[in-house]
């Protein structure tokens, strides 16, 4: 039943740091807090049972039998033997809790031990232990418990053992997984080298790091174990009279269900409240510890990026441009921080033109491109300003349905890694025809023909057979050709290519680039080409825009920029292009890292990494100023002509 993917825990918890915030997070969760309060209350009452002014739970009073709740002196009424139900409920809860907790501890102890040993020892021991665990798990859970009770004979203690045994596998599996990871860590190696015995490493070094997982597994299984022991008692296989737990009370009451339903409903309600409070609390604990929830990896992105424009540019689009982008602003809102991914970008594309957007990762180049058709995930992304006109139509103002019509038709995309961007469970043919049929009302057989044509267009041989294969059966280059074919399916006016060659090896890269170039000339589509590689830019782009920290820092004709970069950053990027025969001139050669975009410095964002930086660079906003014909640069001390390759 434990459906918890054990969250990755940091090795060795840091004292202090992180802990209080986790606790606060937990308390912020109303449901979890409610669960905790109810649970603590039940435990306190159960513990205090001997001191509470309760009638003896086992004293029978035939005269008072089957009193309804709220009867005089019996708040919850009496059962078939005239025993006070409230008193029996509290004493029964005590037994149920004790049994549930004991079963959890036993299962946790043996399960963790098996998991630790199997994960740490590995090899044969691991295989043998886990094979055994698999065998136990091959049984339907409750059935195995029944078989054990059958062999040992009915009784509360035997039920406890049975439930503990069937829960051992959950612990063993979770703990083994974590232990395997930990055994490969440096601190374990270090301990081994220092000559510590295996047992001391396992219990001294590994166990403390595994403990949180054990506790999480306990919190998710204890409710279940209380439920199951109650179930066995309900069937008459657990607690035997005169001993009573909640389950056996319910089982006894069942016989008089029709005449006195309260006798069975009340203990059942108690089990429910108890288990529910544990589950609420356990869920809260899991949510707090689950890194996927914290990182927002489990929020669903909506179909289109949210648009909340503070200002809409007054400037109107130029009629020669297929695409005109003015002052585009895109932000990420994560928790209380705001990341300015794109901070005022202007772009334009003419028919058949190829514009390269170049920058390091995190420069905002992809976000710029993905903003156009609303493909930046929301949450956390939102477009906060600017406009993008596609042939005069403001893409940020049109309806969702209009955006859908334009996507894949007028504007199509080719993404980076074709393995993850193609759906793994549909054939190439399915995915291609689907792209065609989304935009024109044609028959499947005609779409199939068109798909074949497209494959031929991207130089794929045997198109008929290829349509029937799945993406994972193709090579990386072949997959990217499929993606390109998909982008061409509806005679796009603009193709947005986001690092389309980065995931491919060098020879394939060259083929894909020349294919893209040929196709663009044949179809006269404009291309917005996103890349980090000036080498690629020089191969296909007419113009280039260099981005840094969410802004364009230089733009101009490819040739001009390549020969005479003006912005120091552009110069560095060009230096990164590997030159044949000079392997030492390699990428990642720019010292330092790009700034964090939720905390941009005043003035030039590149100043910290710039060799030419001077005091005035940090003083204030620097504009993108014209710099020769068709050229602009955002820098106070641009490079002189020919200085870049010095």
């Amino acid at each position: 039943m434990s459906d918890t993917a054990a969250p990755a825990m940091p090795a060795r918890k840091k004292r202090g740091g992180g802990r209080p915030s986790a606790l606060r997070l937990l308390l912020n969760n109303t449901l979890a807090t409610t669960g905790l309060l109810v649970l603590v209350l039940i435990i306190l009452i159960a513990l205090a049972a001997p001191f509470l002014p309760l009638p003896d739970p086992d004293v029978t009073a035939p005269a008072d039998r089957l009193l309804r709740p709220l009867a005089d002196g019996h708040l919850l009424g009496t059962d078939a033997l005239g025993r006070d139900i409230l008193s029996r409920l509290i004493w029964g809860a005590r037994v149920s809790l004790a049994v549930g907790i004991s079963a959890t501890l036993i299962a946790a102890f043996f399960g963790s031990l098996i998991g630790l040993v199997a994960g740490y020892a590995g090899g044969r021991v691991d295989a043998l232990l886990m094979r055994g665990i698999d065998m136990v798990m091959a049984f339907p859970y409750i059935l195995l418990a029944l078989a054990i009770v059958a062999a040992l004979g009915p009784g509360l203690l035997n039920a406890l053992y049975a439930i503990a045994v069937v829960n051992i596998p959950f612990f063993a599996r979770n703990i083994r997984g974590i232990t395997i990871g930990l055994s490969r860590r440096e601190f374990v190696d270090a301990a081994r080298l220092s000559g510590k015995s295996n047992a001391r490493i396992l219990f001294g070094e590994v166990l403390p790091n595994v403990l949180p997982i054990i506790i999480i597994t306990m919190s998710t299984t204890i409710g279940w174990m209380i439920l199951e022991t109650a179930g066995l008692s309900f069937l008459g296989l657990g607690a035997q009279p005169p001993q009573a737990d909640l389950g056996s009370m319910l089982g006894d009451g069942r016989k008089i269900l029709f005449t006195a339903p309260h006798v069975s409903i009340i203990p059942g309600l108690m089990i429910f409240v108890l288990v529910m409070s544990i589950n609420l609390f356990g869920d809260g604990v899991r949510d707090v510890l689950d890194p996927r929830l914290k990182s927002g990896a489990l929020t669903r992105p909506v179909a289109r990026t949210a648009v909340e424009r503070a200002r809409v540019p007054e400037r109107q689009p130029h009629k020669d441009n297929v695409l005109d982008v003015v002052d585009l602003n895109t932000q990420f809102h994560i928790g209380s921080s705001v990341y300015r991914a794109v901070g005022g970008v202007d772009l334009h594309l003419k028919q058949g033109e190829c514009l390269g957007i170049v920058g390091e990762s995190g420069s905002g180049k992809s976000v710029t491109a993905m903003s156009l058709m609303g493909l930046v995930p929301t949450p956390p992304g939102r477009i906060t300003g600017g406009a993008a006109w596609l042939e005069g139509e403001d893409l940020f103002a049109v309806s969702d349905e209009r955006i859908r019509q334009l996507r894949g038709a007028d504007v199509s995309h080719v993404f980076q890694d074709p393995l993850s961007t193609l759906h793994p469970l549909f054939t190439v043919g399915d995915q291609l025809t689907e792209a065609i049929m989304a935009h024109r009302p044609i028959k499947r057989s005609d779409a199939d023909k068109r798909a074949e044509e497209l494959l031929r267009l991207v130089r794929i041989t045997n198109p008929t057979e290829r349509l029937k294969v799945y993406p994972h059966e193709l090579s990386g280059g072949m997959r990217q050709r499929i993606c390109i074919a998909m982008a061409l399916a509806n005679d796009a006016k603009i193709i947005i290519a986001d690092e389309p060659t980065t995931a491919l090896d060098v020879t394939v890269q060259a083929q894909i680039l020349s294919l893209l170039d040929t196709l663009r000339r044949e179809s006269n589509a404009a291309i917005l080409f996103i890349t980090h590689d000036f080498g690629v830019v020089s191969a296909v782009c007419d113009r280039v825009a260099v981005m840094y920290a969410g802004r364009i820092v230089e733009t101009g004709r490819t040739q001009d920029v390549l020969e005479n970069p003006a912005h120091p950053y552009t110069g560095k990027l060009i230096d990164c292009v590997p030159v044949l025969g000079q392997p030492e001139r390699r990428l990642d050669a720019i010292e330092g890292r790009p700034p964090v975009v939720d905390n941009l410095p005043a003035g030039c964002a590149f100043a910290d990494r710039c060799p030419r930086a001077q005091a005035d660079c940090r003083a204030g906003e620097i504009t993108l100023s014209p710099f020769g014909e068709d050229r602009a640069v955002r820098c106070l001390h641009p490079l002189e002509r020919g200085a870049a390759h010095a």
């Binding site: 091959a138 062999a151 439920l227 059942g268 996507r407 759906h423 469970l425 799945y470």
Partner: protein, 314 residues
């Protein structure tokens, strides 16, 4: 595909073998003289002697196992002394009732769970999501045997909509509508917990899938959001939920023990409970073995379905 199924079937054999060992060992654990324990009040000297000879109880444990396994392979699970009939006959008769109940519950929880999970993911943090999350939490915290009693009180006593117990009406029943009428409440009760678990995992799986690159691609192609979610995302999520449904088959088969007791359904679960009370141990052994083997087959089926959906597994 056929080759794959054959391979999976072969791989199931050692598992079944392992099951038989565990079942055998559990029965060997019985304290005291096994023949006397098994026979209980039927432990006449002749019966004890016969059983000892039949089961080879005077031999070593491995030898006993081999004898037992040999009998098992010939379809001989021993004899129920309390019922005075072969264990296999009784088990198979009871088992068909359990299969109807558990099978219906499994279909029910798969459909409801997937539906709730998808709605919950699509409307994340919306009203429907919150409502489903709370219902799921209630569902997985509710003792099914108690829920069964509540439903009986509500729908069989207060509003007389469904019968409170049994599989067929005593007079004039026996046809399909009658069966469905009797089946509704127990199948629903049995499905509740599994529905919750499946809904939860479906929600998580959908949310994970909706973040994937290929979903962005589907949107970039201009597919309608409906198609993106119900075709592209759902199929991918289903692949990871199918094994969970397989595992839920185990919980449903096991949970049938309670539900059959509550609704007096003449299945193997209520048979087991009775057999444990009367210490009819060979009957327990046979029942457990058959249900466990069925569970293995359910998981096998889940594997096969998953492989059909996911070409990468082939």
């Amino acid at each position: 595909m056929a080759a794959y199924i054959a391979k999976r079937l072969l791989a199931a054999i050692p598992v079944l073998f392992g099951l038989s060992i565990i079942v055998f060992l559990i029965m060997a654990m019985i304290p005291g003289d096994p023949a006397t324990a098994i026979l209980g009040s039927y432990a006449t000297p002749e019966n004890v002697a016969r059983l000892n000879a039949d089961l080879g109880l005077d031999k070593s444990l491995p030898q006993q196992y081999l004898i037992w396994l040999g009998n098992l392979l010939q379809g001989d699970l021993g004899r129920s002394y309390a019922l005075n009939r072969p264990v296999l006959d009784e088990v198979l008769e009871r088992f068909s009732a359990t299969l109807i109940l558990a099978g219906t519950a499994l279909v029910l929880c798969s459909i409801l769970g997937l539906l709730a999970g998808v709605i919950s993911a699509v409307r994340q943090y919306g009203l429907a999501d919150k409502l489903i999350t709370v219902l799921v939490l209630i569902g997985i915290s509710t003792p099914s045997f108690w829920l069964g009693l509540l439903l009986i009180l509500a729908f069989a006593v207060k509003i007389r909509l469904f019968p409170a117990s049994g599989m067929y009406a005593i007079y004039g029943g026996g046809d399909l509508p009658d069966l469905l009428h009797h089946l509704f409440l127990p199948a629903l009760t049995l499905a509740v917990v599994a529905t919750g678990v499946i809904a939860r995992l479906t929600r998580t799986a959908m949310l994970e899938v909706l973040r994937q690159d290929y979903i962005r691609t589907a949107r970039a192609k201009g597919l309608t959001e409906r198609r993106v979610i119900y075709r592209h995302a759902f199929k991918a999520a289903l692949v990871s939920v199918i094994p969970v449904i397989g595992i839920q088959a185990g919980f449903v088969l096991g949970g049938a023990v309670y539900i059959e007791t509550v609704f007096q359904w003449p299945g193997i679960g209520s048979m087991l409970v009775n057999a444990i009370s009367t210490r009819d141990l060979l009957l327990v052994q046979g029942g457990v073995l058959v249900v466990a083997a069925t569970y293995v087959l359910f998981n096998l089926a889940a594997d096969v379905v998953q492989t059909i959906l996911d070409p990468r597994l082939r």
